[in-house]
């Protein structure tokens, strides 16, 4: 399965049509996208332009109406439900706008969750947690229940949770939408740093001008189509 691939994410003529009370809504209307390993890409566009839909299609959370998605050179629509779940667990880190964390668990436990599912050794787990907590700067909150953290802190834990299992791809749908600008900037810097250090591929959607500026590649979506695609 570990075949050579040039693009870590590739879509071909990707379409998604929703039924809204019998009226077809074309959320994504033929997206051809190629993202190289290690890119730090922002997905921007007006509300309703199809950002979330596109990211869900790429993550394999949603099924496309037409077109194909390859992740690490594998076509995900050919995978079974259970294979896809495992693939997601091992290769994609998610950061959502909110409700990222398991509310009853502590910071440490939330970060540990996926590694436990993967069956990572306890020692390895602890090393990685220690390291990532340093990076996100929440060492002292290690054993705090996540619902008792601020929104910014929670999003940082979400990043740590997404990254600690060392997936190849991080998908983040409006990770800063609920944060003030200081926190947003802070979070983005952290993500950028990690991108730099680990070489993970980042794809995040945003409305935030500030966030767009920090990206190395900016894709603008409009009416479900790529309107603009620039590398800096």
């Amino acid at each position: 399965m570990n075949q050579e691939f040039k693009d870590i994410i590739r879509t071909e003529n990707l379409k998604k049509i929703y039924e809204d009370n019998g009226v077809p809504v074309e959320a994504v209307r033929g997206v051809d996208l190629k993202i190289k390993p290690g890119e730090f890409t922002a997905l921007a566009g007006p509300s309703g332009s199809g950002k979330t839909t596109l990211m869900n299609l790429i993550a394999g959370l949603d099924k496309s109406s037409q077109g194909k998605v390859w992740l690490k050179g594998q076509e995900i629509s050919k995978m079974s439900g259970s294979q896809l779940t495992d693939f997601r667990r091992d290769n994609i880190g998610f950061i959502f706008q909110a409700y990222n964390l398991i509310p009853v668990l502590t910071v440490k436990e939330n970060i540990e969750y996926i590694m436990l599912l993967q069956g990572v050794d306890k020692q390895v787990r602890n090393e990685r947690i220690c390291k990532i907590l340093n990076i996100i700067g929440l060492n002292e909150f290690e054993n705090r229940i996540v619902t008792k953290l601020s929104g910014g802190q929670q999003q940082r834990v979400a990043i740590a949770r997404a990254m600690v299992s060392q997936p190849a791809i991080i998908l983040a749908d409006e990770p800063t939408a609920n944060l003030d600008s200081a926190n947003s900037s802070n979070l983005l810097d952290m993500m950028h740093e990690l991108n730099h250090e680990t070489g993970m591929t980042f794809l995040f959607s945003t409305h935030d001008q500030l966030v767009m500026e920090k990206a190395t590649r900016l894709i603008i979506l409009k009416d479900g189509k790529i309107f603009d695609d620039k590398r800096k």
């Binding site: 959370l61 959502f96 436990l116 599912l117």
Partner: protein, 405 residues
């Protein structure tokens, strides 16, 4: 372990809901346990007093005697049979009896009576017979012309202690059986039909009167433990090898009593069914609420790679954790309640009669099944009721639930 941790914390997080659910489950558990313990106690008492009072728990007769009792259907050489009975484990005691119908007369008052020939010593050690002699004296250990009569019979023939009872009947050889006895005691067995008919004489006198040398009609057996009646019956059947003899437990020879008992027990099961239904609704309410309000959480869990089975497990675990708390705390309460009921019981203002046995006081018993049955039903109900919502939760579509706004 992780699942357990999440489940436990979820349960602890929703304190109010957990406590309410625990009240339902624990309440149901306590009610079930108390009902069973209560019923077992009451039934145990009823069965015990019903059977120890004269009937015994196992009886031996000549074949066909129970269906159509006659003087001729006897157990021959019963002492030998008795020795075999004694050799069976679980047997406490046995006592032989002769039953013959007769006319009885006291001071010109005549009535049909049932003459019961008993072995005074054996009868007392088997059925505490002498305790039922409420007036006068029990039969002496040596045979003579002494008789005890039932209280109801005494009333019918206007007999008093010291009066003579003349019996007229027929021996097994067809000859006239006629003898006169001095009434030395009144028997109150609590079984009214019997007390209106029975008069008791020494079995050796009866054998002579009715020409039944070395024979009896019935051997009554008591067992050490009333719940082992069936197994003792089967070992008796294999030990006392005679196809001419019929060995039956009380469920057979007191069939109508047994069936009344069982019908009553069915009432208990219906009662338990209703309790379980209430518990089920409580559990369903809780599990539906907790699943519905946590859709996003399940969406997240699925998005980041949790398999559906784990989510089902997690919900079942959560509900069963509540069940464990409920059962543990319910057991403490039920134990206390049953302890109290088994020690003090409830006195009935008007005594209840069941199968001719008068019951003045009802007491519960503390036995394993009073706890095990509710425990199993609480866990089973919880699991069964939770499984549908759990499967639904496991099917949560992350795309729909995670969509913000």
């Amino acid at each position: 372990m992780l699942l357990f941790k999440i489940a436990l914390r979820n349960v602890l997080r929703q304190k109010r809901r957990t406590i309410l659910t625990m009240l339902t489950m624990g309440g149901g558990f306590v009610l079930c346990a108390a009902s069973i313990g209560w019923a077992d106690g009451a039934y145990g008492d009823i069965i015990y007093s019903f059977t120890s009072n004269q009937l015994g728990q196992i009886q031996i007769h000549s074949e066909d005697y129970l269906d159509n009792p006659t003087i001729y259907k006897t157990i021959v050489d019963y002492e030998k049979v008795g020795k075999q009975v004694d050799s069976v484990e679980g047997v406490k005691n046995w006592t032989p009896r002769i039953y013959v119908g007769a006319l009885g007369m006291v001071n010109q008052e005549v009535s049909g009576v049932q003459v019961v020939g008993i072995d005074p010593l054996r009868e007392d050690s088997t059925t505490n017979f002498n305790n039922m002699v409420t007036e006068g004296e029990p039969l002496p250990s040596l045979p003579g012309y002494d008789v005890l009569i039932g209280k109801g019979l005494a009333k019918v023939i206007k007999a008093e202690l010291g009066d003579s009872l003349v019996l007229l009947s027929q021996g097994a050889d067809g000859s006239i059986a006629n003898a006169k006895y001095g009434i030395m005691g009144i028997v109150e067995s609590g079984e009214m039909g019997g007390d209106r008919m029975n008069c008791y004489i020494d079995i050796r006198s009866a054998q002579q009167l009715f020409v039944l040398d070395n024979q009896c009609h019935e051997i009554v057996i008591t067992v050490e433990d009333i719940s082992s009646v069936n197994s003792v019956t089967s070992s008796l059947r294999s030990t006392v090898k005679s196809d001419k003899l019929d060995i039956q437990p009380w469920m057979v020879f007191a069939k109508s009593f047994y069936e009344a008992m069982r019908a009553d027990m069915n009432g208990l099961w219906i009662q338990l069914g209703i309790i379980i239904l209430l518990v089920a609704f409580g559990v369903l309410n809780t599990v539906l609420m907790s699943v519905l309000e946590r859709q996003r959480e399940f969406g997240l869990l699925k998005a980041i790679g949790t398999k559906p089975g784990m989510i089902i497990m997690q919900i079942l675990l959560e509900m069963n954790l509540i069940a464990i708390f409920s059962v543990v705390s319910g057991s403490v309460v039920a134990l206390g309640l049953l302890y109290w009921l088994s020690n003090y019981g409830i006195s009935l203002s008007t005594p209840m009669t069941f199968g001719g046995v008068e019951i003045q006081q009802m007491k519960a018993t503390i036995n394993l099944r009073s706890f095990v049955i509710p425990l199993i039903t609480v866990f089973a109900t919880t699991t069964v009721v939770s499984i549908f919502p759990a499967v639904k939760a496991a099917r949560t579509d992350p795309v729909k639930t995670m969509r913000t706004n």
